[in-house]
Structure formats: structure tokens, C-alpha cells
Symmetry: C2
Subunit: 335 residues, 2 copies
Amino acid sequence: MTHEASVTALVEQMRTGAQRPLARLISMVEREESVVPAIMQQIAPHLGKAHSIGITGPPGAGKSTLVDRLTAILRQKGLTVGIIAADPTSPFSGGAILGDRIRMQQHYLDPGVFIRSMATKDRHGGLPPAAKDVIKLMDAAGKAVILVETVGVGQTELEIVETTDTTVVLLVPEAGDAIQTLKAGLMEIADIFVVNKADREGADRLMAELRMMREIQQAPSGWEVPIVATQAHRGVGVEALYDIVHAHQRFLEESGELHQRRAQHRRNELWDLVEHLVRQRLTEHVRQDSALTALVEQVMRAEVDPHTAAARILDDEDMLRRWLLPQNAGAEHGA
Amino acid sequence: MTHEASVTALVEQMRTGAQRPLARLISMVEREESVVPAIMQQIAPHLGKAHSIGITGPPGAGKSTLVDRLTAILRQKGLTVGIIAADPTSPFSGGAILGDRIRMQQHYLDPGVFIRSMATKDRHGGLPPAAKDVIKLMDAAGKAVILVETVGVGQTELEIVETTDTTVVLLVPEAGDAIQTLKAGLMEIADIFVVNKADREGADRLMAELRMMREIQQAPSGWEVPIVATQAHRGVGVEALYDIVHAHQRFLEESGELHQRRAQHRRNELWDLVEHLVRQRLTEHVRQDSALTALVEQVMRAEVDPHTAAARILDDEDMLRRWLLPQNAGAEHGA
């Protein structure tokens, strides 16, 4: 109860634009899973106003620099900005990431910008597990634009496209060959392509390849994916990118696509949360329920194959009750 | 019943070394999920003899060529080989992949080699969903070595490390910068590093960087990750790689690590299958159960937040019974 009361108070303070309650709520969402539903219920009436933009691409493409420059332009237009920087935590990349953060320092001092580094689930990039909820918190806190920066090539883009309104994919000329076979997949996902470091050799070829792929693969939505050349470190092309991002926002709103995307995102989030809770409860029960422990050990010793064991768990009413209900509820039912 | 009888017959034929029953069983595992547990039960007594080797790395690193050359050496040693080539299906990459397959043609005619291209879940690389079960089929069919080739940078390596006995990570000099921030993650995952195209500029620097990272991050298992230089297209270094792969197999067996890895893989596979089944059953029920449909629609319209909805599904005994039991069982229980 005290917990819920303090959540209510924090949400109210956050809604006034204060940074510290927002930071505290983000930490709670990252650490204390049990309090998340209460927070989400509290902020639900205040959601949906922010425009969330995912910025993804291979390491070294210049994402942080672009986010930095884009933030400067958004601030000039008087828009508040939330930034989520996915951080594949690692003792080795520490230097590089610290460098990025120093570059962002001007924005750290700006009360209209809220920056949060979030660790990815592992050291392999992708979207931090709590990123979706942190976007909601920043939205409820009144940020007009939320930039989500993720590292990765391949599955990462899929995660971001399931999360943000607009997906910007950053490529660099030298990545040309390396991402060759993945480009067609990127074409389905990107709302906007940025070819950064556009002064380097191979930039023209990369732009031409992207244009050719766009010709072949016309987007069903009616949005023709723009291909923007930038040199983010010098600020070249970033204003044009802003205009295009803004145009995409208008397109999403006017076409009804925004409404549809967000509805799909919410449905997928529900299934993801159900999967997560099921796994969490099962792994908790494993420590305490001798029948489940025995089954898992049989699987580990290859005495029961995983398919048969999965069916054994999910085809039996008693097993479901014992192993999937929350532990207290399970106890009440006499498990 | 006829189904199970035909599975038994197919498994028996496959066990004689015939290629066609193996191909048919793989297709069944890829397409007809309901028959998978029956197949897995049938082959369970014949599992665990093959050495499975994941070969992963960014697109363009030369994985197919390396697999081709490694296969030739394995065949010279008299070992049978199964090859799973993950294929991020795409109309655009069709050419490249066809080229790879043509290169492999010598092995297609060899009855001691079984090659299977498998589509990845989407166009973004990663491990094909049925790959784990196909490895088991090839194992039960008597293949001595199973090579699993996947494309990707980032999360893909994690999937492969959860699947095969030995993980080989292929890098190329030009990928040096692009994978900078992900290298530390790769270090945790690779059992063997291969620097392919080792005659190109930057190869020495990449080898030196990898060695330095290995210095800092000593593997807890006691296996010092070898770093092998190859020029796969000319066959240079591939014999050395074979020796190292073989040494790793011996290390896994003698240290007890093989036993441990496989037990962990089986446990993770169980949880993954449970998650998959839960999502599948819920999405099936959505079409037929008006209460669940209503809940999902409320989530899509943002009237109920996903966390609250997930708890509503999983905290209630009646909901679990109605929505998670197989549909027939649910009907018996009066849902």
C-alpha cells in the first residue's frame, strides 16, 4: 500500500516535468518488476503524445553523434527530448561509450533533455528489456520526442520496429559489403535510411543500391522510404533528416498507420510479457517444487526430451495450477 | 496412430543412413509441429554421438567457403557430415546464396554429406526455429559432425552458443571497426576465433586485438580460445582449424564441459518450448474465446495496459485452464 502511494506521488511529481522523479521511476521499472503494473496503470491516462524514434545500425555508424545533433535541432524547435541509449555493457567498450557520453554533455545540462543509458540484456546489443516501459515513462513525463539508440545488425532492428513509431536505420559506406545479405530485411523495416559518413568512398554506391532496392520493394503503406545522406560529425544533412522525421510523423498520423502500429505493439507486448512471466514463474517453482525439479533434471539428463516435457507441463490442469499461478495463489490452492 | 507408425518406419530407415527419410523427417519437423514430440521420442535413444559446430559471423566473412573446405577435410578423415545453412530468405540475396550452394556442389553428390538450407524466422539472420531439432535428426541419422552456419552480428551468436557443442566465430579484417563494441561479447561466446581473408590489410591488427582481449578475459573453463588465421577460398589454414576443432571436442569431453553444456542446452530448450507453446495456444484461443478477444482488444485500444492484462491471464486459475490447456482438453473441462 505504501508502495502504491509512493508510486502515485512519484508519478504526480514526474508529470510536473521534474527530472528526479522520472529517474527514480525508471530505476524502479528497471529493478523492481513487481511494482511495474502499478506504475503502468498510473501513467496509462497520460500516454500516446510523444513521437518515439528508433535509431539503429551497426557499431561505429555514428548513431550517438547523430542523436546528439538531432537533439540540438529538436531543442532549437522548442521540443523536449528523451534519449534512451542502449549500452552493450562491457569492460572493453567502456572507453567508447564514455566518449559518446562526453559528446552529449551539452544536453546533460539542459533540463529539456533527459538521457538514460540502459544496459542491454547481454553484451550483444539489442533493446534493453525495460526499454518499452521507459519510453512510456518519458512519454507520460511530457517529452515530445523520444530517441531510442540501439546497436546491432540483424535482429536488433526487428526489436526496435516493434517498439517505436518511426525507425531510422543508419548505414555507413564501409558497412556496404558486410550487411549485403541483410539489406533486403532492413528495407522492410526502415522508415528512413540514413547513409552517414557520406563523404567517404562508397557512399554513392550505397545510396544507389538502397534506391534500387526501394524501386523493387515498394512499401505497402504508401510511404516511400527516404534515403538521406548525412555527415553527422559536421552536422551536414541533420536538418534535412529532422524534416523527414517530422514528415513521417505526419504521415503516420494522417494515414492511420500510427494508430495501427501502436495497437500492434501493445498486443505483441502483451504476448511477450506473458511469455516472460511464464518462464519466470516456472524457473522460480523449479527451486521449490520437487516434481518440477525432477522433470527438469530428467530433461537435463536426456531421459525425457524437451518437447515431451513441455507438453507435460502445459497439458495438465494440475501442473498449470501448481507451476504457473503466482506462488501465493498456488499455496492457497493447496499446491 | 498411422502417423506414429509412419514416424517409426521413417526413423528406422533414416538410421540405416538413407538420405531421403532424413530429408522427409526434417521437412516434417519444419512444417508439422504436432508430430515433433513423437519424432523426438523415437530418436531420443540415438542422440549425443555427433559433434555439433556452430560457424557464425557477419555476412561476407566467408562462412560458406569455410564450411565447404572444412567439409572436404572431414570427408578425407572418413567422417560423415551434416550441414545446416541458415538462409535469411530474400529475393535480393538469392544470387549470393545460390552462388554459395553451387560452390558446395561437390558435396551434394557425396552420400556422406547431408546439406540442408533452412530459412531463418525472418530476413534478419539468426538461427532457424527448427534448427535444434534438425541437429538432433542428423545426429540420430549417424552424422559424425554437424556444421551449423548462421549469419549475423550480435544476438545470433548467443543463439548458436545455446545450440551447438563448439562455437566458431569468423571475422574478417574489414569488419574490424564495425564490430568493435561487440568484440568483448564475442570473446565470451567463441570457443575458436577465425580471422578469415587473413591476407588482407588489417588482419594482423585484428589478430593482435583479439589476442589482447583474450589476455584480459581469461576463460573460466580453462580453454584458451585459439585465434586461427585462414584464407578459406584458397584452403589456407583450414587443416589447422580442423585440428583445433578436434582438440576442442576432446577438451569438452575430458573436462566434463560437454556434459554440462548439453544439459544446459536441454533445459533452455524446455523453457523456450514452453514459452512458444504458451504464445501459440493463447493466439489460437484469441480467435475463439470472446473473453480473451475482449481483453486483447482492450490492450490494443490502450484501455488496459499490457502488464495488467498479462497478470489477468496468468493469475487466475480459470483463465489458465481456458486459455493455456490444449483446446480439446479445455473443452473437456467445460470451457
